[in-house]
């Protein structure tokens, strides 16, 4: 009979995965040895084996004739680079005919837009038929066309291949790439693919188009009608960060214009098979697209193409090796609002939606205001790390000086508004108008505002106007309509020009860009746009980016713009958020009191063994950049608070820090001084119009206070960070879970006059439910 100790130990170690702690091994090395052995000894078969094999081969030929339909279809696969193998196994007979009908209808609908009378009326031009061999760029002069062009490609491709049509228009002012459309070759004998694309050419401009084949989709012909179980096996190493599916996003089964059936074999490593039903001589396609697969991880709308930059989380660093940690402040809060939008639509956000520092900084903390000559105050606190009780957590806060509205410097604003077709919905342009109406209400007589819109072309809809002429401003705002494609680059150039023409020396000169980020850049490329912004910010014009809408939201692009353009970035997911960003925190969003704010923390090895900066991954600076005034960093707004957290492994802990080998000549005893100081916070900033940085320093001693004695500020920031780690599925989350977050948050909500903290608690409860549901789904599968 087994005693408790046996089952206890068995249970405990059953959950262990991966390499045992403290062991370093190279698993491919052992594989190399195995392979060597296998290559040396080809499989030897005894005589009876050969006879059996011959018999089997005969049988196999027979069974191929009889039951060839049951053989899985195999595709070439490279297991080690993240490719995927899709296996179809027939499991059932054809589905009832009823389903056929429904699917046929769907397919007809797909072809509809191409044939409508309406499009024929508006200047249709059909491009010549092209074949796959014509890979060169075709140029067709479209000068003088004022209306839409229709392009049709009839083309021969290999089965399952996809064709992308890139349409690119060039003009004297700017050039940009228009939409990319794709088509798929469906049948092997009479290969025919039709791609149709609608592009509008701005009046008086000429254009060219290119097209290319991108066989990033693979297809197979399924041998017969029936229901197939689809299994996907992915290679060892993900091809791309964040892609755990081997790039398999979806399984489309497409017939000769007959039916469509979609399933989603997405999961970790070896994925759960799902079932597709096909009829007759059909083609099964699976897309092999790492980018899209990445987004699928977040349980988003499969059709959505939102873009998020991957985040590689900071890990623990050993103080002996890295005594300095340097980063730029980040005052953005977009990530929080975006996460809220996901949860409010009952979805868990994809991990890369979550930038923990932006979540922590979404909240206003109760810090003391600065009393000295500096524009902000540095606050530090240390207590137990709630999710890892043998660690300490250091909380560093900055409080920007508050300025009475009347004393704020005069403002020269240029609204730069995206009115392209993609903005045409209530939650985008509608919300944008409401938001800017709120913002306009804040303006005073000495302020000026201009309005530039961009779509197919950029134009000024409101010349620079004094802030008290509210009616003129609001009229211009209300007349905005969306339509056409997007020329963001030209818009930004124009906005900077107007900002410069109306520049107020010593004032607040700022462009407020409102967009869903889906713009195609006139300056040839994204990096071209970044260069332009970097160049313009030297002229003293700041940039605020307001993100709107969902579906094709380009988070990564917008954050880069605000970052490069000396500015901030907020995501407006509703009127309440517009009110918070543009009214209650108007000063913080619109007035910088310090720019290029950098923090450098020096840890004392006598007190600290290792540390981890939570969040701020894309704000890291090199240590030598701290004192280099040429290096750009974040801006701090009027009355803003910024908070950063470090998780600390105390000196004397036996915990090992991955990647750190103890140094031979630098034993811990010789290191650091015997000071009680845990760390020193060094901070550099510039005045908004200054060029030279000013240095501040602040020491922190660990007074060993427990979590109960810690301040509300401390516990609240810890709750938010912990929640961020839960949503990210972070490797460093320790004991973090929604219950811990709730416990911390409920103990730290404080006055919460505006209700943002109560809202946070509701969101955590919602996430908890969604995670429980997800667990149930996983279990049922």
């Amino acid at each position: 009979m087994k005693t408790n100790i046996d089952s206890f130990i068995k249970e405990q170690i059953a959950e262990l995965e991966g390499v045992p702690a403290g062991i370093e091994r190279n698993r491919s090395h052992t594989w190399d040895r195995i392979q060597q052995e296998l290559d040396q000894k080809p499989a030897r078969r005894p005589l009876w084996g050969w006879m059996a094999a011959a018999g089997l081969a005969l049988l196999a030929t027979l069974s191929f004739l009889l039951v060839q339909r049951q053989e899985p279809v195999n595709l070439a696969i490279n297991y080690s680079t993240g490719d995927s193998l899709v296996v179809f196994t027939q499991t059932q007979n054809p589905q009832p005919i009823q389903q056929e009908q429904t699917l046929r209808n769907q397919d007809q609908k797909q072809n509809e837009p191409f044939l409508t009378e309406k499009s024929l009326d508006r200047g249709k031009g059909i491009m010549p038929q092209v074949s796959q061999s014509d890979q060169s760029t075709l140029f067709r002069n479209l000068k003088g066309r004022s209306d839409q062009q229709y392009i049709q490609n009839n083309t021969v491709g290999k089965l399952g291949e996809q064709m992308h049509l890139n349409t690119k228009w060039e003009s004297s002012n700017f050039a940009f790439q228009d939409q990319v459309t794709s088509g798929t070759t469906l049948s092997s004998n009479q290969s025919f693919s039709s791609v149709n694309s609608t592009v509008s050419v701005p009046n008086g401009q000429s254009g060219a188009y290119t097209y290319q084949w991108s066989p990033n989709t693979s297809g197979v012909i399924l041998p017969s009608s029936g229901t197939y179980q689809v299994g996907v096996i992915t290679g060892g190493t993900p091809a791309e960060y964040g892609d755990l599916t081997g790039g398999v996003v979806s399984m489309n089964v497409i017939g000769n214009g007959v039916k469509t059936n979609q399933s989603e074999p997405v999961g970790l490593g070896l994925t759960t098979p799902s079932t597709v039903t096909v009829d007759g001589n059909l083609v099964a396609l699976f897309s092999n697209d790492g980018e899209k697969a990445k987004q699928k991880q977040g349980w988003e709308d499969p059709n959505a193409v939102e873009e998020y930059a991957p985040i590689y989380e900071n890990s623990f660093l050993a103080v002996q090796q890295e005594p300095l940690s340097t980063f730029s402040i980040d005052v953005d809060r977009a990530s929080y609002a975006n996460m809220r939008r996901f949860l409010n639509s009952n979805q868990l956000p994809a991990p890369d939606v979550i930038r923990i520092e932006e979540m922590v900084n979404y909240f206003h903390y109760d810090y003391k205001e600065p009393k000295d000559q500096h524009p902000f105050n540095v606050i530090t606190e240390v207590s137990t790390c709630p999710w890892q009780p043998d660690h300490r957590l250091v909380h560093i806060g900055l409080q920007g000086k508050k300025i009475q509205t009347d004393n704020l410097p005069a403002t020269n604003l240029v609204f730069l508004i995206d009115v392209s077709g993609s903005m045409d919905s209530e939650d985008k342009l509608g919300l944008l108008k409401q938001s800017f109406t709120l913002l306009t209400e804040q303006l005073r007589k000495q302020d000026r505002v201009a309005m530039v819109v961009y779509a197919g072309a950029a134009g000024v809809v409101l010349p620079s106007t004094p802030g008290d002429q509210k009616e003129t401003i609001l009229n211009a705002l209300n007349n905005l309509t969306a339509g056409g494609s997007t020329a963001g680059g030209a818009g930004i150039e124009l906005a900077y020009k107007i900002a410069k023409d109306n520049f107020i020396p010593g004032g607040n000169n700022r462009i407020v860009l409102a967009t869903d980020g889906d713009f195609n850049v006139g300056i040839n490329s994204e990096s071209g746009l970044e260069d332009l912004i970097v160049q313009k910010r030297k002229g003293g014009v700041f940039l605020s980016v307001l993100g709107f809408g969902m579906g094709n939201y380009k988070d990564s692009k917008m954050e880069i713009l605000a970052d490069k353009g000396n500015g901030n970035y907020a995501y407006i997911d509703g009127l309440m958020e517009a009110q918070k960003t543009l009214v209650s925190e108007f000063g913080g969003t619109m007035f910088a009191i310090a720019k290029d704010v950098k923090l450098q923390i020096e840890f004392n090895p006598a007190q600290v063994k290792g540390y981890r900066l939570i969040g701020y991954e894309n704000r890291a600076l090199r240590n030598e950049d701290f004192a280099n005034d040429k290096i750009d960093a974040g801006e701090l707004g009027e009355g803003h608070t910024v908070t950063a957290l470090y998780e600390i492994i105390p000196a004397g802990s036996k915990e090992e820090i991955p990647g750190f080998e103890p140094l031979k000549y630098q034993s811990q005893q010789n290191w650091g001084n015997s000071s009680d100081e845990m760390l020193t916070v060094k901070l550099r900033y510039k005045k908004p119009d200054g060029e030279k940085s000013i240095l501040l320093a602040h020491e922190l001693v660990d007074d060993k206070q427990g979590i109960i004695q810690s301040s509300n500020n401390f516990r609240w920031s810890a709750a938010v960070a912990s929640f961020g780690m839960v949503l990210r599925g972070s490797a460093h989350k320790g004991q973090s879970n929604c219950d811990l977050v709730l416990k911390l948050a409920q103990s730290a909500a404080g006055k919460d006059a505006e209700g943002y903290r109560a809202e946070f608690i509701t969101l955590v409860q919602k996430a908890k439910l969604l995670m429980e549901l997800k667990n149930v789904e996983v279990r049922d599968k």
Partner: protein, 195 residues
């Protein structure tokens, strides 16, 4: 791993498809390393056993009868246990003197500062003397009966039993040193879960 995939992999491995063999290796090697390491307690030995074990898996796969999910892993695990025992025997590390087994180094070395986690408990098993550890692994973790263990190791069922109870006593002592005194306390060990 879904059955359809397992069967497919097995089929391809039987045809000596290197990539399929590699996929099979990559899928199981981490778990099998942990298993063998639990017996051998030395990394290089474990890698060698892993090599021998997988070669055996690939050569014997023709004789393997697939019986649904889990059967492949169980079969590979059995091969790995056998290979581990063979290695221990080859190195003459299996001695089962009645009562006279050398006691392990100071148990206090296995103390940790924080609460014990699963990895610490894994290391406690590794810290047992070879004989105790082998019997404990076979009986408590792999689920063999004393008669089977006796057969495998060429000892009497009585020796197997006495080795097991000594292993348990030692583990119990180490657990107590780390603050887990009674069996009732086992369930209070914190296990982190998501929400």
């Amino acid at each position: 791993m879904p059955a359809v995939i397992e069967e497919h992999l097995i089929k391809k491995c039987r045809k000596q498809d290197r990539q399929a063999q590699k996929a099979l290796y990559e899928h199981f090697e981490a778990r099998m390393f942990r298993l063998c390491f639990r017996y051998l307690n030395q990394q290089q030995d474990t890698e060698d056993v892993l090599l021998a074990g997988f070669l055996k898996v690939f050569s014997a796969l023709d004789t393997f009868d697939y019986r649904g999910p889990g059967s492949l892993e169980a079969w590979i695990s059995r091969i790995m246990v056998n290979e581990s025992l063979m290695a221990l025997r080859r190195q003459k590390r299996l001695r089962f003197e009645e009562g006279g087994a050398p006691l392990p180094e100071q148990a206090s070395q296995h103390r940790t500062d924080g609460p014990l986690n699963a990895e610490d408990i894994y290391n406690l098993i590794r810290a047992l003397p070879d004989g105790y550890r082998t019997v404990f692994n076979l009986y408590a973790i792999e689920g063999y009966k004393h008669e089977e263990i006796a057969d495998q190791l060429g000892i009497s069922p009585g020796t197997s039993k006495s080795q097991l109870s000594k292993a348990r006593a030692l583990l119990q002592e180490w657990l107590s040193q780390n603050g887990i005194h009674h069996e009732n306390e086992y369930r209070f060990i914190h296990k982190g879960t998501d929400c």
